[in-house]
Assembly symmetry: C2
Homo-oligomer: 198 residues x 2
Amino acid sequence: MASTTEALNAERILEATEEVLRRHGPAKATVVDVARALGVSHGSVYRHFRTKVALREAVTKRWLDRTTQTLEQIAGTRDETPPVALRHWLGALFTAKRRKAGDDPELFATYTVLLGEASSVVQEHIDELVGQLNQIVFRGVQEGDFTAVDGDSAATARAIFDATNRFHDPCYAHEWEQPGIEAEFSTVVSLVLRGLRR
Amino acid sequence: MASTTEALNAERILEATEEVLRRHGPAKATVVDVARALGVSHGSVYRHFRTKVALREAVTKRWLDRTTQTLEQIAGTRDETPPVALRHWLGALFTAKRRKAGDDPELFATYTVLLGEASSVVQEHIDELVGQLNQIVFRGVQEGDFTAVDGDSAATARAIFDATNRFHDPCYAHEWEQPGIEAEFSTVVSLVLRGLRR
């Protein structure tokens, strides 16, 4: 239990919330559990997160953001050509999701429940990832590697995200360790890359 | 209640099972309910389906087969060029799934639960659909419209199925009436078709 003399900031509350969710599961975890884990009153938690829903959304966003940050660098770099960067980015997203699902299945299951509750947080996460894809597609069009479908790079980025969802959407997590999944991923990515070719 | 003088065949049992599932839901429906709806003993039902699991798998297969049959004609015809047939087939699959989800949401929810139980039935269904896609891809390669990814038309067919799963997998049913979904479908199909181009 943390000392109350330590500053109670949002990050500490979110860490404790994740731990409480992992221990009690999303159905049973309460704000009181979080406050108890931190050794503070539940009023102190509510000063940072005004409702239980706000707290759950914030912890879900934090979990999703951990993936986004790694990918942001791949989308933003000019060290790779757009086709290489796109394959790299899609592979990194698949790897990150698989690792989350495989390394801590309970926490993954917990977040899968939370994702169902926090539709605006999920939508923002998807918009952010599609925005990163759009960066790569847009650069590919500028540099002459790609042609966007119907000349619309944002719609094309969304189509790439949709076309690869077997390899990043938690609803397929149970397939991510199946034999042959790597080859299937690679074929989908090749098909997509061929579809983008100028 | 049906007359017991009518021949009790597998199809009648499956019809009654579907009705019982619709009424009681997958968690509560029993073989006794099915027998009662038919006015026969549960022993008579077990003569056709040896276990409750076998009965549930058979009714799931029957439901899935209703989609497959329509699509089979599109995959088998030579009236359309392979690119046209492919867009037609993917559109027909999306339409069929949307209709199933939209027209009878309770039955759709029921079958979504059953799909989780009947993994071999689902696998056969997917294999059959991918087989139909492979027919179109293979003909496209022969006729000079398509090039398969890595020269493998079966793997390419699977990649097309995977790349379009937002528009046929029940896990996305809640998105199928969203505004813009038609345009998003069309962009994914265009990307795929471009990826197949010779």
